[in-house]
Symmetry: C2
Subunit: 343 residues, 2 copies
């Protein structure tokens, strides 16, 4: 036999005290009249069953659940996990609990999860990555998020937040790409390729546009056409780097869409018996892998997770608690260059 008791509801307390549930509610909240005798009875039962005052009931009156929904494609991606960690820290410090769901980049699943979050009466929702970053947004999807945003304030960690009529926060990738290309120029790299990412995702598409524009300013030959495989994982970097190495001459530096792709590319370079950074320079993005992850520390871009997570929380809190002051705005997180040993 377990010593774990069945959850006691306000109705169980009411039944045992021989009063209505409304009376129990009044006794617990301290709002409204309850006879001394009933009050004593109810207090004893609350203690007996370790019954906790129900915030869901309180919620009916305030209209706030102090609960936030947070949607990511996959929390196993360190980028999402790091921002969530910072966000949750500030949220719980301020009395908000956060429901974290994984959308797996699947349309139907994301829609279902958003409906479930609404049913939980969350006070606000953060969407980070996945469908909101698609280049070609379906009208139906825009409508869905606009409707959602009418019910609860939403913060989108996406360049496309405005299209949804939502507040947006994202890393300023134009600055990020400028930092990378400036750095590569200062190290005298002249023929650069760019690999990884996907054409259907806004952040990848924009990073490529920025890179092409900025490379011109520095008279660097940048080839963005070498991306054969799309994706954000090690294997994409590995496979595309292998293809690049078959060419003569191969590029003297490769910009990778993120650190995972960079790690894959570095593996291919090592296997070919070439040296990093002497034969080929490599840059990553996101600073997920930290300095010790690879034997050669990667030059990368830090998204300032501390600032990012706090900015997302501050923005959503403002939307929830000061709805009249809130404006639809997009905030940019300024990234920083971290110079490693790979360039």
């Amino acid at each position: 036999m377990s010593d774990i008791k069945k959850r006691v509801t306000i109705y169980d307390i009411a039944k045992e005290a021989g009063v209505s549930s409304a009376t129990v509610s009044r006794a617990i909240s301290g709002n409204g009249y309850v006879s001394e005798k009933n009050k004593k009875n109810i207090e004893a039962l609350v203690k007996k069953y370790n019954f906790k005052p129900n915030t869901f009931a309180r919620n009916l009156q305030s209209g706030f659940s102090k609960t936030i929904g947070y949607v990511v494609p996959h929390i196993g991606n360190m980028y999402f996990a790091s921002v969530y960690y910072e966000f949750e820290k500030w949220a719980s410090l301020n009395g908000y609990m956060t429901i974290l769901v994984n959308s797996k980049n699947e349309r139907q699943l994301e829609s279902k999860l958003l409906r479930s979050l609404l049913e939980k009466h969350v006070d606000g929702i953060v969407i980070m990555g996945g469908r909101v970053d698609e280049v070609n947004l379906e009208k139906r999807y825009i409508k869905e998020i606009k409707e959602l945003n009418k019910t609860v304030p939403c913060v989108l960690c996406s360049e496309k937040a405005e299209d949804f009529g939502c507040c947006g926060i994202h890393v300023d990738d134009e600055i990020g790409m400028r930092l990378i290309i400036e750095h590569l120029a200062s190290r005298n790299y002249k023929n650069i390729a760019m690999i990884g990412g996907g054409n259907t995702f806004v952040p990848s598409a924009l990073k490529r546009q920025y890179a092409v524009k900025i490379a011109k300013e520095y008279s660097i030959n940048l080839d963005v056409s070498k991306m054969v495989h799309s994706g954000f994982g090690y294997e994409v970097g590995y496979m595309d780097m292998k293809l690049l190495l078959e060419e003569k001459p191969y590029p003297d530096a490769v910009i990778c869409i993120n650190d995972y792709v960079a790690i894959g590319a570095m593996k291919a370079i090592h296997e070919a018996g070439l040296k990093i950074p002497d034969d080929i320079g490599i840059t990553g993005y996101d600073n997920v892998a930290e300095s010790y992850l690879t034997t050669t520390k990667i030059t990368t871009i830090s998204s300032n997770y501390h600032k990012y997570g706090k900015a997302v929380y501050d923005c959503l809190q403002g939307l929830i608690e000061k709805p009249n002051e809130r404006k639809r705005e997009t905030m940019l997180i300024k990234p920083e260059l971290i110079v490693g040993e790979s360039t």
Copy 2:
């Protein structure tokens, strides 16, 4: 001006319809009498304000919130993130939403978060890592978790679950260590050191005990005294490996408490100009880094995240939904050896 409306409560609907909130509740739930006229009015207002039937209110009657609390020290650790991902998949598939909080291994913060979860009336709680894994458990803490478990069923991903009177799930580290040592023996490693982890944490302490016992069976000389720094990060592996390399002769293989420590150790070996696995073999644990993360793929132990996350969910669901059938039990997840290039 924002087009996001203020959240409408059941009281706003009641006021505008000129009825009591109880009437609105009856109309929405379909339980109890409401006049046709009031019903029509209320339905129109619900539509007008996009008001969602409030599960918190329903919750008062069923006693279930369909919400689960999940506590980890830091979701940025891939081990926790991977199990959570699998858990959340099954939870949301079954209509449960999961609140994920980071305890940062801080006592006061964890206690505060647990209280907050109770106030949200979660149906169950998962605790993974952190205080529950401490070798010397404070009586006060055991009492705290026992009390918690009386209020809501708890599943502890810990070897110490029984001490708390809770159901427990954890990886069978005896099998894990056996797989590693059997493998090292088959590759003719004879002098082995073990680094990383902490003496105050049960999983580390147990892994060391198992390793010593099993090494004897294989007549392997295992030195567990070389751990100078305690911890689970890259830098611990790097620093302790550097110390090991100062000795003559250095060990021919090093068992690392997890993959992060292994990656740090590999960096130190590379810096010393030594070859893996010829000069020194390295094993990791947890399979967080995946095959491409390091230029030399690490031999490691997979904890079967799929099975692990599902087992945690199944266990908690049983405790919540079938409280009379539930038993206090500990379930072991059988790990698997993944042979890489580091041995």
